[in-house]
């Protein structure tokens, strides 16, 4: 019972984060900002709900579903950061996304 309650709370928090991330994907105007919104929607909106679904499955006695849910959450936590970093590196290296104003470039031309 308490595991299902914690799981439902995690699912609700994840749904709110997921909807915020989906809105941010449309409100932000640059790829790097959209990467931040996608990370919010992935870690907050997918990792916590996977844990919550695993807790609900554990409370209902579905041990295989709970194991897959916890394994998926752990895999997601590792692979999301790696994938986001790879996409940002590729965007900068391939010149797909132009940096409009570089804060770290110094003030030589001011």
């Amino acid at each position: 019972m308490i595991l299902s309650l914690i799981g439902v709370v995690l699912l609700i928090v994840g749904a709110v984060c997921d909807i915020f991330g989906a809105i941010g994907m449309h409100r932000f105007g640059n790829f790097y900002l959209r990467l931040h919104a996608a990370t919010v929607g992935t870690v907050g909106g997918k990792f916590y709900p996977f844990i919550g679904a695993g807790l609900i499955a554990l409370d209902r006695g579905l041990l295989s579903v709970a194991g897959v849910a916890f394994l998926s959450a752990f895999t997601l936590l590792i692979t999301t950061s790696v994938g986001s970093h790879a996409l940002a590196y590729a965007a900068e290296r391939a010149g797909v996304v132009k940096i409009e104003h570089n804060e770290l470039g110094g003030d030589w031309d001011d």
Partner: protein, 89 residues
């Protein structure tokens, strides 16, 4: 006790997935489409896991794990080909 909560949450995640999918179609660059496609696949994985929990069936859970792995593989391979210059925008 929570039989009515899980379908509502599945609908919320579905709405978020549809909003992500609009970005897949509208993405100005291919990286935006890839990023939104990752989020859509993870949403589908979560909905599949919730369906498995709701109907107390074990068969859909394995598909959820492979969808999580698919998102990572899509990121890494697209980045690899973009850095190598073998795939255009």
């Amino acid at each position: 006790m929570f039989e009515h909560t899980i379908p509502v949450l599945m609908a919320l995640y579905g709405v978020a997935g549809v909003v992500y999918f609009i970005r897949v179609l509208l993405g100005p660059t291919v990286l935006d489409s890839i990023l939104a496609g990752d989020c859509v696949s993870l949403d589908v994985a979560l909905i599949a896991l919730l369906v498995a929990v709701y109907y107390e069936n074990n068969l859909l859970a394995g598909g959820a794990f492979f969808l999580v792995l698919w998102a990572f593989v899509l990121d890494v391979f697209a980045s690899k080909y973009l850095v190598k210059g073998e795939v255009g925008v």
